[in-house]
C-alpha cells in the first residue's frame, strides 16, 4: 500500500472538513513548528527533504525559502499559485477540492518559515467553485485560530486572501503573477540580479509556490524530512507526486504516487491502460510544455532527474496520452495554437516565432510541406531559448519532440502530399481524425 501524503483524507465525492482534517493529525505540524522550531529550522527541514517545486520548474523549495534569510524587513508575502493553466493539468483543482486545509496549513507553515505577513491565494477563473470553497474554509481556519493575529497563541500573525484571476496562461509565471495581483498588465518582468524573493509584490520579498508544493510541507514538518524523502521510489526523487493522466486511457484522473513511479505503471495500472482499440503512441509527460515521449521510453521513472537523463522534463507531471490513431503533427498544431493565443506578446521570438512554426506545420499537415521546413522548424524551436521568459522555450518542446521521435511521421506528410489520417467516429457521437496506417 502506497503511503499517502496529499490524498490522505480523500473522500472522492466532497472535500474533507476541518474536523476530518484534524482527526488525521491536521494542523499538528503547525502547532509543532510554532512550539519547537525557529523559522529558519523549518526552511532547513524543507531543504533536507529534497522537495522540489511542483508547478513545473522543479526548483528546490528549501533553497528558495532559505534565500529569505537576511532580506529586508517589512511586509513579506506568500503567493500560493493555483493558476494551473498548463494544458493537461488539473492536480491543484483536485487537491484543493480533496483537502483544502492541507493546502492552507502548508501555506501557513511557509509563511512562518519566511516570516510573511500576508498570503494571496491566486486562483484561475475556471476554478471559481474552488475559490468559493477556499474562502469558506479560510473563515473556518480563522475561527479555529490557525489564521489571524497570534496564531495558536504564538507571536506569529498571518492571514490569507483569495485573488481571482480573469484568465491567461502567462499569469502562472511567477513574475507575471505578481504583476497580475498588483493590477498591472501581467507581462513577466525580470530585473537582473533581483529575484521575487527580494523584490516581489509591492517591492517586498515574495514567495510564489505552487499549491501542491505547499501541501507537502505539513508532512515534512510532522513526519520528518528523511521520511518524506524515502517515500520516493528513486534515490533522485523525494515524496509523492500528483500525476494527472488524460487522453486515450480508460480511467483519466489524478493519482498520488511515489515520485519515481514508472510511467508505464501509471498509465497501465492507475489509469487502467489504453481505451479499447487504442494503442499507446506517445505522451506528453508533463503538460503541453514538454516533449512527446515515445513508447520505447515509457519505463522511465517519473522524477525530475530520471526524465532529464533521457532528454525529457517532469513539468507538471500531467501525462497526456495519444494513441496510434492520433496525428502528432495535428496535435502539435493544436498545442502551438494554445501558445500563440496565450503569448503575452512582449518579446519577438515568442510573438513572431510561434505563429511562424505553426504556419510551417500547417503547411505540412495540409500537404504543402517542403523538405526545408524540417530544419527550419528545428532551428526556430531552438531559437526560442532567446525569448524573454520560459513560455516560448516551453512552447518549442513539443515541436522538438515531434522532430526528434516522430520525424518519420512528419516526412510521411511530405511524401504523400497530405496528412495520412482521415476523419472517423471518436465515440460519443463526434468525428475524429484517425491515421490510415
Amino acid at each position: 500500500m502506497t503511503e499517502k501524503v496529499l490524498f490522505l483524507n480523500q473522500k472522492f465525492d466532497r472535500p474533507a472538513t476541518l474536523e476530518e482534517y484534524r482527526e488525521n493529525g491536521g494542523y499538528g505540524a503547525l502547532a509543532l513548528a510554532l512550539e519547537k522550531y525557529a523559522p529558519g529550522q523549518v526552511c532547513d527541514l524543507v531543504a533536507e527533504s529534497g522537495l522540489r517545486g511542483r508547478g513545473g520548474a522543479g526548483f528546490p523549495t528549501g533553497r528558495k525559502w532559505l534565500s529569505f534569510a537576511g532580506r529586508k524587513q517589512g511586509p513579506r508575502y506568500v503567493v500560493p499559485n493555483t493558476d494551473e493553466m498548463e494544458p493537461g493539468t488539473f492536480k491543484d483543482r483536485v487537491l484543493v477540492n480533496c483537502d483544502p486545509h492541507l493546502v492552507l496549513e502548508g501555506i501557513i507553515l511557509a509563511a512562518y518559515a519566511i516570516q510573511a505577513d500576508q498570503g494571496i491565494f491566486f486562483i484561475r477563473p475556471s476554478y471559481e467553485q474552488d475559490a468559493q470553497l477556499i474562502e469558506g474554509e479560510l473563515n473556518r481556519a480563522r475561527e479555529a485560530g490557525y489564521l489571524g493575529k497570534n496564531i495558536l497563541g504564538s507571536d506569529f500573525s498571518f492571514d490569507i486572501e483569495v485573488h481571482r484571476s480573469a484568465g491567461r496562461y502567462i499569469c502562472g509565471e511567477a513574475s507575471a503573477q505578481v504583476r497580475a495581483i498588483q493590477g498591472y498588465r501581467p507581462n513577466p518582468r525580470k530585473m537582473p540580479g533581483l529575484h521575487l524573493t527580494e523584490r516581489g509584490l509591492w517591492d517586498q520579498p515574495t514567495l510564489v509556490n505552487n499549491a501542491e508544493t505547499l501541501a507537502c510541507i505539513p508532512a515534512i514538518v510532522s513526519r520528518g524530512p528523511q521520511w518524506f524523502k524515502k517515500i520516493a521510489r528513486t534515490p533522485s526523487g523525494a515524496g509523492t507526486k500528483l500525476f494527472c493522466v488524460s487522453g486515450r486511457v480508460v480511467r483519466p484522473g489524478c493519482y498520488e504516487l511515489p515520485m519515481g513511479t514508472p510511467l508505464r505503471e501509471i498509465i497501465e495500472q492507475e489509469a487502467g491502460g489504453m481505451l479499447p482499440g487504442s494503442e499507446f503512441k506517445a505522451c506528453l509527460p508533463g503538460g503541453a510544455s514538454t516533449r512527446f515521449l515515445p513508447k520505447k521510453q515509457w519505463e522511465v521513472p517519473m522524477d525530475f532527474e530520471s526524465l532529464k537523463k533521457i532528454g525529457h522534463q517532469l513539468g507538471t507531471s500531467s501525462i497526456i496520452v495519444f494513441d496510434h490513431n492520433t496525428c502528432l503533427v495535428a496535435a502539435t498544431i493544436n498545442l502551438l495554437n494554445f501558445f500563440v493565443r496565450e503569448s503575452c506578446g512582449w518579446c519577438t521570438p515568442c510573438r513572431d516565432g510561434l505563429p511562424f512554426m505553426r504556419h510551417l506545420l500547417l503547411e505540412i499537415e495540409h500537404g504543402r510541406g517542403k523538405e526545408e521546413y524540417i530544419p527550419m522548424l528545428r532551428s526556430m524551436a531552438g531559437q526560442m531559448r532567446h525569448a524573454y521568459c520560459a513560455f516560448a522555450p516551453g512552447a518549442a518542446e513539443p515541436v522538438l519532440g515531434l522532430l526528434e521521435y516522430f520525424e518519420d511521421e512528419v516526412r510521411e506528410h511530405l511524401s504523400r502530399g497530405k496528412c495520412p489520417c482521415r476523419f472517423s467516429d471518436a465515440g460519443g457521437g463526434f468525428r475524429r481524425k484517425q491515421c490510415l496506417t
Binding site: 494554445f338 471518436a426 475524429r432
Partner: protein, 164 residues
C-alpha cells in the same frame, strides 16, 4: 449608472485596501456582472473608482479572456479546445454547438441567450471534452448531452453566474 448599493460596497472595499489597484479585476467582474459585459460606461466607472485612467483599465480588460468588452448572452459557453479535448472531438463539439445555435464562434444568439467562445484548456481534462457555462463545468460532452443542457438552460429563469 452604477446603483448606489454596488458603488458604496466597492468604495468601502477600495478605501480599506492598502493597494486599491489590486482590486481592479474584482471591480471589473462586479461591473461586468451588473451590466452584462464591461461596456464603455463600466470601463470609465472602474477607472474612476480606482483612480486609474480608462486606458489603464482597457489594457487589462482586453488582456483577460474572462472580461467581456462586447455584449454577451445570458449564458457564456467557454468551449475548451485544449489538446485533450481536441484529441476526443477535434473541435466538433464547438462545431456542433455553433451549428445547433446558428452562430459562429464568438457570436451571440439573436435572442441574447448564448455566446459561444472557444477557450484554451479549462483544466477539466479528466472530463474531456468539456466546456464551462458561466463558470460551471459541463462534460464529457456528447451531442445528446449538449442538446439536453442547452434546452434546460433556456428554461431557467434565474441567472446562473459563477464566474463571467
Amino acid at each position: 449608472m452604477l446603483p448606489e448599493e454596488i458603488r458604496h460596497r466597492l468604495e468601502t472595499r477600495i478605501a480599506a485596501s492598502a493597494h486599491p489597484r489590486e482590486l481592479v479585476v474584482d471591480v471589473m467582474y462586479e461591473l461586468q456582472n451588473h451590466y452584462g459585459f464591461l461596456n464603455d460606461v463600466a470601463l470609465r466607472e472602474v477607472a474612476e473608482l480606482l483612480q486609474l485612467t480608462p486606458l489603464e483599465v482597457e489594457e487589462l480588460a482586453t488582456f483577460y479572456d474572462f472580461i467581456y468588452r462586447r455584449p454577451v448572452g445570458r449564458f457564456v459557453l467557454h468551449v475548451c479546445d485544449g489538446v485533450v479535448c481536441w484529441m476526443f472531438e477535434e473541435q466538433s463539439a464547438l462545431d456542433y454547438i455553433c451549428k445547433l445555435l446558428g452562430v459562429a464562434p464568438g457570436e451571440t444568439t439573436p435572442d441574447g441567450q448564448f455566446t459561444v467562445l472557444p477557450t484554451v484548456c479549462v483544466g477539466y481534462c479528466d472530463h474531456a471534452p468539456a466546456m464551462l457555462i458561466n463558470g460551471k463545468l459541463y462534460g464529457p460532452l456528447t451531442p445528446e448531452f449538449i442538446d439536453r443542457t442547452l434546452e434546460e438552460l433556456r428554461s431557467i429563469s434565474c441567472d446562473l453566474v459563477l464566474c463571467r
